[in-house]
Homo-oligomer: 246 residues x 2
DNA sequence: AAAAAGATATGACTTATGTCAAATCAGAAC
DNA sequence: GTTCTGATTTGACATAAGTCATATCTTTTT
């Protein structure tokens, strides 16, 4: 143990090639040769502590980021100080596209827990896109995904009841857990109730009550931040996915 | 007049170079030489009639589009048939990015009135980006803009009251009118009340009532679809833009 | 021009959720 | 371990906005 102490784990670089998130991340669909190119430009800064900002509204946009571990939330701020969380970013998910319009970020990005990210510097992105044919396509895919994601959220906020929103949120997390080959019916929430409420456009109290309701109805089990989905079908039924069984 | 009749106005191609929307559109910041390249690949299909679809959810994504005249709305559809309008696209504004993620559109795009669009085919986009250094950057700008726009909408749906939403909507239209060098305090709505309500996540009746309220308070004048903003400051005050005067 | 269909407006009433207040619980700091 | 602070839960009550019903006005169809 005393000798291990000298390994600075913060600076062990994980290569894209070795990373088990690579298929969810920038390198999606890239060849081994292309992966080496990615590795050469991807930077891995020191981990963020809980409540550290990755970037803030107004910061000039230097890079796009991929979460490697932990969870990062992004939120917009209105003129009168209201804040709306627009995304919770899990490992393998990207953020920073908000800076593309004007070269300046229009969101705050904040670590919900100790988190590490990979950085793809924008000044290298341009060149890299010329060298790696796959990357340009992947960039478009990523941006399309962000847009589609936002659209789903708009539908959620515009048309769904509180109950449907929370069910929808849990299902979204569940399917993202599955993508990562983690348990899709049992996971920990990295965000407080307040953040869930904000994200879903409702009051904290409503989130609390709905968790209690779902628990009473044996749809989920809630223990603090630990969620177990007991009846996936009923959860899906709530949001109106009509497939009774696949 | 009898001789003019033979000119097929639908097929008169407007070059990017001549287009007075160019600075809002793809060609933003391009040189004259670059504009010629754009012209070579930009297609101008026949105008859409009111209620024609430009594309539908599930269609394979062939191009991105710029509105040249009229107005096109985009909307997402949920599994249970709910529909959420996610954008009203005015001349010079782009749409079609929703198809970037999977090569398939995830929105419906529908003309609210007779409208014409320009098409930038995706298969040409790739090559064009290599030739035109400005275009790749512009593509990123466009996508960033879309993301930022969606974030603003999320804030609106998540945090604002009905009154704030409608005021916000009117101000957004107003500033977009100004961008186009049209009157910013007097314009026609191309969408029915029902669409405004859907977009803003409220009931039609609420939109009606709020228009009546704003009118009574002499903030705006409403005549059918014709809106006159009488007191821009108060409208801004409603959404909480704290700048009493610039 | 009349009739039909659709869009908009307005009133009466209901309800999903928000707000306020208080109690409980968990984790951090000392 | 005790205290303190912040997170979560729960209850009582208030309200913004939805729903339903009806009337009016516009536009399209015949």
């Amino acid at each position: 143990m005393s000798s291990l102490k000298r390994i600075d784990v913060d600076h062990l670089k994980v290569s894209c090639k070795e990373c088990n998130l690579r298929e969810l991340c920038f390198p999606h669909g890239m060849s081994d040769a292309e992966l080496l190119n990615m590795d050469a430009v991807v930077d891995q800064p020191k981990p963020l502590h809980k409540n550290d900002f990755l970037y803030r509204d107004g910061d000039s946009s230097r890079a796009i980021y991929a979460v490697r571990s932990g969870c990062v939330k992004t939120m917009t701020e209105s003129a009168n100080g209201d804040e709306q969380i627009v995304g919770f970013h899990l490992p393998g998910e990207l953020l920073g596209l908000d800076g593309f319009a004007e070269g300046v970020h229009t969101c705050n990005a904040l670590a919900l827990e100790t988190s590490s990210v990979c950085e793809l510097p924008l000044n290298q992105l341009e060149n890299l896109c010329h060298v790696l044919p796959g990357l340009q396509k992947q960039m478009r895919r990523i941006m399309g995904k962000e847009v589609n994601n936002d659209h789903k959220l708009l539908l959620l906020l515009g048309k769904m009841t509180a109950e449907e929103r929370l069910a929808s949120f849990l299902l979204s997390l569940s399917s993202r857990m599955e993508e990562r080959h983690w348990k899709d019916n049992e996971f920990n929430l990295s965000m407080p109730r307040q953040d869930i409420a904000n994200y879903l456009g409702m009051a904290v109290e409503t989130v609390s009550r709905l968790f209690a309701t779902f628990q009473n109805e044996k749809i989920i089990d809630v223990d603090r931040r630990h969620i177990t989905i007991l009846d996936m079908q009923r959860l899906k039924a709530i949001v109106g996915e009509c497939d009774t069984e696949l």
